[in-house]
Subunit: 109 residues, 2 copies
DNA sequence: ATTTAATTTCGATGATTAGCTAAATACCAA
DNA sequence: TTGGTATTTAGCTAATCATCGAAATTAAAT
């Protein structure tokens, strides 16, 4: 969890995650969204990989990254839970909030 | 929001927030929970203050810190919302989840 | 076999950060 | 005023970090 928060501390990396939320992207495509060099972006990817927030698949010479949303959720929720006054269903609610995409439970509204 | 994530990147500071969730505490009491010097703790407090995550009140020579939960919420939720597939009511749910005890929003701190 | 393309690793640099001790500040009590 | 307590500021060091250009790697294309 420390690794996740460390990874989240940099705005470039947060933006990468945000881009990756919409769809998987190659390292080059991602890099095109930022005004820094390829090696710098590669280092950011390494930090995100280290935190287990993204995963890579290689096809030919191209590396595609995709978000591991559940890891992000778990870290955020694990932390958020420390601040809820021990409401047992807090987790379920917040999971809906963060990941309504594939948390398709019968939502309360 | 960047300041908040930067502040959250350090485990000592996260622990401080966690302690402060239970009750306000003085700088000295907080410091007693960590194996680092007072000045170091003071620097951590400064970072948290800078991120607007804590607030201090001074009585005599003693400084009491308390958590500004709503700021923490807003940052976490603002970020989490980026990862929800555009569910507009996600915020309301997660706010409940994180702060079920005192869910009054426009708090006058 | 060469060249080209995508990405990472290497090595260096400047900036930021966490930590320390010592000193300063602010306040209270005697 | 002198002394003591709580906390911060100052000044420093060591470690970590974001960044770069150059070189290495890997695979495809000619």
């Amino acid at each position: 969890m420390n690794a996740v928060f460390k990874a989240l501390a940099d705005p470039t990396r947060r933006k990468v995650l945000e881009l990756l939320r919409k769809q998987p992207m190659t390292a080059g495509e991602l890099a095109d969204h930022f005004p820094v060099s390829r090696p710098t972006m590669s280092a950011h990817f390494a930090v995100l990989r280290e935190a287990d927030l993204i995963e890579s698949t290689k096809i030919g010479t191209t590396i595609t990254y995709h978000l591991k949303l559940s890891v992000l959720e778990d870290a955020l929720l694990g932390f958020a839970r420390l601040f809820g006054t021990e409401a047992p269903n807090a987790t379920a609610n917040a999971t809906q909030a963060i990941e309504p995409g594939h948390a398709q439970k019968g939502s309360t509204q």
